[in-house]
């Protein structure tokens, strides 16, 4: 059961071969056995999960079931879910029980999916290793001395360890793709604006985007069908017709060359200095496989992509410092027990409620937005952001998708990069430019590197090209079995 695809699970549920209650209980038992060591989930509520499963079974009995009805999923703890503690990896929200549902959660509820629990994450999604979580680090199921990546590290570990059928993540600078790569699973960050940000705790609003994480491209397509959609409560939600993201997956193909004519752009900057040899070898082997499937390779350049990390560390902290100013200890969240006056209450509540990485980013953001520095940092970064987006636009004149490594190395050791924020930031060097441009990006497993740790292949598409990207990934997953490898736990 734990290796079944979402489609297989849906078929089994609709055929009443298994009930949602039985399936949910199987997962809850597996979580109870594995989670104490992995720390992938931070909040479980078996009664609430089983109540949803019973409701799903009633719906299944009437024959009015959707693709995801009765399927147990996990939700990153950044999504507000009514009645569930939603802590966002922070002491600041340790006791915050969300009074409403995020749009993404509403969509899953409407589909009749079961929420198994909330997954661990870097505090306020700020981190690339899941080590900034107030609730402790998550262990990588492939090697428990290594990180799962971040910030959606709990989700990635839960999917890899088969502690849920699929799950959600969010991606501001790589937080879906990098942990997917490090844990050997598939993950998709859609075009900015495809999934509503309503009820998703804000980090950097012009970059934040929700997306699915799962064991195959086919599963991601079904998840995205449920997650995507216009929502007037998010001012950047895009008004577009509802799409079936699985529509390209079952199209008849050209025999053993299903991707005949697909032009894959390989940015030379993504294969240069800084990329580990083992990751390069796995990614190059994946490109060779794509050639066998009929694709052709085009050499492209993204000359400004080297500036993505510096630009991101101006823009994201600037937006974060503004978004996180709401945490003042007045209406919700942590309030310091002792204080002299109002200013003292703010300063102590925030000092106690936020961890070191969050404080660092708030301070960077406060500095770059402060009087006299705004043009030199914030406006300058926004200008370079346009140059980076323009590089992609030029590249997509010559190719249909862009491929390269997701992360410069496989999963690193816990505590290895703890004291050096700049080294940690550079682990998102290939993913950040995609967020700055607002393009869709995904990571799929493409082999193993040194120490038998998974390697991720990044696929970047043009705006709104998710369905094509999912098919490009799906055809590779039909021809290879990297995505179905599971860690021994």
């Amino acid at each position: 059961m734990f290796e079944s695809s979402l489609k297989q699970l849906g078929d089994a549920l609709r055929a009443r071969k298994i009930s949602s209650v039985e399936l949910t209980q199987l997962y809850l038992d597996r979580i109870a056995g594995q989670n104490p060591e992995l720390n992938a989930y931070v909040t479980l509520n078996p009664e609430a999960s089983l109540a949803q499963a019973r409701a799903a079974d009633e719906r299944l009995a009437t024959g009015a079931a959707d693709a995801l009805t009765g399927i147990p999923l996990a939700q990153k703890d950044i999504f507000c879910a009514k009645g569930w503690r939603t802590a966002c990896g922070s002491k600041m929200l340790e006791n915050f029980v969300a009074p409403y549902d995020a749009h993404v959660i509403e969509q899953f509820n409407r589909a009749g999916a079961v929420n198994l629990g909330k997954t661990n994450m870097d505090e306020f999604a700020m981190g690339s290793s899941n080590e900034t979580s107030y609730f402790g680090a998550v262990k990588n199921p492939w090697d428990k001395t290594r990180v799962p990546g971040g910030s959606s590290g709990g989700t990635a570990a839960a999917v890899a360890a088969r502690l849920c059928a699929a799950a959600t993540g969010t991606d501001t600078g790589g937080s879906i793709r990098q942990p997917a790569a490090l844990c050997g699973i598939s993950g998709l960050k859609p075009t900015y604006g495809v999934c509503s940000r309503y009820g998703m705790i804000a980090f950097a609003s012009s970059l934040d985007q929700a997306g699915p994480m799962g064991r195959s491209a086919e599963d991601l397509a079904l998840m995205l069908n449920a997650m995507a959609g216009f929502d007037e409560r998010d001012s950047t939600s895009l008004q577009r017709d509802k799409k079936d993201y699985a529509r390209d997956l079952n199209k008849p193909t050209n025999g053993d060359k299903p991707l005949a004519g697909l032009r894959i752009g390989l940015p030379r900057e993504f294969f240069a200095e800084g990329l580990s040899g083992d990751v390069a070898r796995a990614v190059e082997a994946a490109i060779e496989e794509y050639k066998k499937l009929g694709a052709v390779v085009v050499d492209i350049s993204l000359p400004n992509s080297r500036l993505a990390v510096p630009v991101y560390y101006v823009l994201a902290p600037a937006e974060a410092s503004s978004n996180l100013s709401r945490f003042d200890g007045v209406r919700y969240g942590h309030r310091a027990p002792d204080y002299a006056d109002l200013a003292d209450m703010y300063e102590k509540s925030r000092a106690q409620g936020f961890g070191d990485e969050v404080k660092r980013r708030i301070m960077i953001g406060t500095y770059v937005l402060s009087h006299g520095y705004y043009d030199a940092y914030y406006i300058k970064a926004q200008k370079i952001r346009r140059l980076i987006a323009h590089d992609f636009a030029e590249a997509f004149r010559q190719c249909d998708v862009i491929m390269g490594p997701t992360s410069p190395s496989t999963a690193f050791k816990l505590d290895e990069k703890g004291d050096d924020p700049v080294q940690m930031y550079l682990s998102d060097i290939y993913t950040i430019a995609v967020n700055l441009a607002g393009l869709p990006g995904m990571s799929i497993p493409c082999g193993f590197g040194d120490n038998d740790m998974p390697v991720g292949l990044q696929i970047v598409g043009n705006y709104f090209d998710e369905a094509r990207m999912l098919n490009v990934a799906h055809q590779y997953q039909l021809a290879t079995d990297w995505h179905s490898r599971a860690p021994q736990i």
Binding site: S206, E232, R335, D344, Y463
Partner: protein
């Protein structure tokens, strides 16, 4: 770029973050390293480039000026640190 202790103290005050002297010193070293990374931007010629704030150049939608929210004061106040008689309590700000 090297930040001074005074720079960090000022930023901490603006951001409403209480920090001890050792915390200021540690933040100074780490923030200086991050600003060295950020300084790579300064070499780029951006003359005449329009700043980009969002991926899709959208204008803000306007909604009809009607009430859409229902009163949920009790639900919202049940998660507040300190309330009394339907009010949020904060330290006295006016003597």
């Amino acid at each position: 770029m090297s930040l001074t202790t005074q720079d960090v103290e000022k930023v901490a005050r603006l951001a409403r973050l209480a920090m001890t002297a050792p915390e200021i010193e540690s933040a100074r070293a780490q923030l200086s390293g991050i600003f060295d990374l950020i300084a790579e931007m300064q070499a780029v010629d951006t003359e005449g480039i329009e700043p980009m704030s969002h991926a899709q150049d959208l204008s803000q939608r306007l909604r009809d000026d009607v009430v859409t929210e229902t009163n949920q004061r009790e639900a919202f106040q049940s998660i507040a640190p300190q309330v009394e008689a339907g009010l949020y309590l904060v330290p006295k700000v006016i003597e």
